[in-house]
Amino acid sequence: MEWECCWAFQEIAPEGCPYIAEGEEELYTAHKRRVVEKCLECPRFRNDLLKFRELGYPLATIIPFIVEEFIDQKTRLQSMGSFLNSKTREIRFLHELNVVLQTSLDLDEILSVAMTAITAGKGFGMNRAFLLMADKERQFLKGYLGVGPRNYEEAWQIWSDIGQNDLTLREMARNFQKTKLASEKVKFQDILDQLSIPLANHKHIFNRTLRDKKPVLIKDAFTNQDIDPHLSELLGVDSFLIMPLISRNRRVGLIIADNCITHKPITTHDMQLMETFTFPVAFALERASLYERLQEEVGKLTVANEKLKEQQELIVKMEKMALVGRITSSIAHSIRNPLMIIGGFARSLLKTASESDRNRKYLESIVREAKQLEDVLEEVLGYADSLYPAMDTWDINQLVTSAFDKIKERLEQKGISWRFDAAAGLPMAFIDYKQITFCIKTIFNAVMETPGISLVSLVTRLEGDDIVVEILDNGLAPPWNADEAGLPDSAFEELGRNLGLPLCKAILEKYGKPLLIEKRPEGGTKYTITLPIRKEGE
């Protein structure tokens, strides 16, 4: 018998069966496999079966039943295999997603993974997604992030880029976070702003979805009575998914997803699949935001600890101050009293000594030297008093007025005129009151020792971020200028016996701007003190 099909041959030549494709060459010699995989579905085999029937073989009538059942079972098996493969892919994808969502504490990373999963072909394959999140005060549902193309051109560009790189979901999310997260936030800002609603608006579809804790597939959005026409118009699609993000009964936010470019219908299966994904997303988002808040609290605690440390240091400093205070008190008592007695009695004696008394010059010398020692002592004690500054904000005009009050009388006694040009509206200076008072008084002491003075001017003004205090006289100027480099050493000797100006210099250097002493072109000396103002946030 001549058979059309090759089923009867153990081995066949390559031209023996036209249905064996490239790569299936093994079937030429594998008889059983060839029959099962090729012959049973081959039209030639069906012709051979007809021949069997014509020849009257009894089995010829039932073999087609067996063949038909076999093919049917095979098809079902293949379909189940394909279904299993697709489920395996889904499970792998969800596993990959869950691993990231469960391990990440970074809000941006979680957002990137979630939004990439919704929009990537390897994920749920939606064209576009919006994330809305409840604000900290739980007052508003605010548009937070939009992902996807805005038009066909952009979609084409994105999808061709993705096609060229075979990346895992995590890699895609990482790329998205690095390169696109910030720009995507801006790209959809107009839509995000309009998507925001108060959580108290119970009738809104978003709040209803959150209350029901079930995803909703919106169809026919433009004619749907349940949907605000403004929302349909804003999204520009007829069909979209709303998925609530609920974690431990807390409304974290919701995701809106659509196919705005391809307009591929969204199925119930898509919705069910995405529902399994929203819980871990909500949980991860809440955990990340809690972590972020925890970090903020840790930050606050760190600041509080630092402040506490500063306070502790301040206490130690104050203890040192108290020690310095005790030492200076002791010095004051031990030195000032004998000086007063020596100088005081010398003055008493001087009052009764006649001009011709040969002891008069000795008494005058004792009085002068005692006074000088008293002045030096006053300056040193004043400086010691200012060694541990208490920085605070002060009105410089008020400080200068107060320091100048007693000096005015002395100036007037010496017949020296004075004027004070105080700038109005000066900001507060950030200084130690005692230190700067000491400096101003000391400069005036130096001014009053300068010969030839008839006028002293005091000026305050704002210069950039600093307050400038100038004291100007018209007396005999020193033979040097002191610029930013500070006072020349010779100046200390030139200034005479006072320690005051060098101490002022040391104090003002700590404020970052040295004491400037300059010869005035018109004659006299200008003393400039530059003080910092309190800046915002300091």
Binding site: G325, T328, S329, A332, H333, R336, N337, L339, M340, I341, I342, G343, G344, F345, A346, R347, S348, K351, V367, A370, K371, E374, E378, L381, G382, D385
Partner: protein, 120 residues
């Protein structure tokens, strides 16, 4: 002129005050301690007290409080080696505050000012 009580634990300083203030025509009584001052205040009437802050084992500020409490009309000038007490609240009870100096002009001016104020 006025009757002034000078309270200071240093003999020489009491002597100096006594001479200088007497030169200005004041009647000066001195006390070396707070106890002695309290006794003299109880027995006499003074126009003004010049008081040192640091007395031997005693505080002039305590005596100041006592004077203010019992004789609030009597003016007190603190005359001390310490300028730092100017910031002490207790020192603010005094009518004047002078840092000790061999040049007693400031103390004398302060006495004049306070007596004139009292006379008004």
């Amino acid at each position: 002129m006025a009757k002034i009580l000078v309270v200071d634990d240093e003999d020489s300083i009491r002597l100096l005050y006594a001479e200088e203030l007497a030169d200005d025509g004041h009647e000066v009584v001195t006390a070396a301690s707070a106890i002695e001052a309290t006794e003299k205040l109880a027995r006499n009437t003074f126009d003004l007290v010049v008081l040192d802050i640091k007395l031997k084992n005693e505080s002039g500020l305590d005596l100041l409080q006592k004077i203010v409490k019992e004789r609030h009309e009597m003016p007190v000038i603190l005359c001390t080696a310490f300028s730092c007490y100017k910031d002490d609240f207790s020192a603010w009870l005094a009518d004047g505050y002078v840092v000790k100096s061999s040049d007693m002009t400031e103390l004398k001016d302060e006495i004049k000012r306070i007596l004139a104020k009292k006379a008004r």
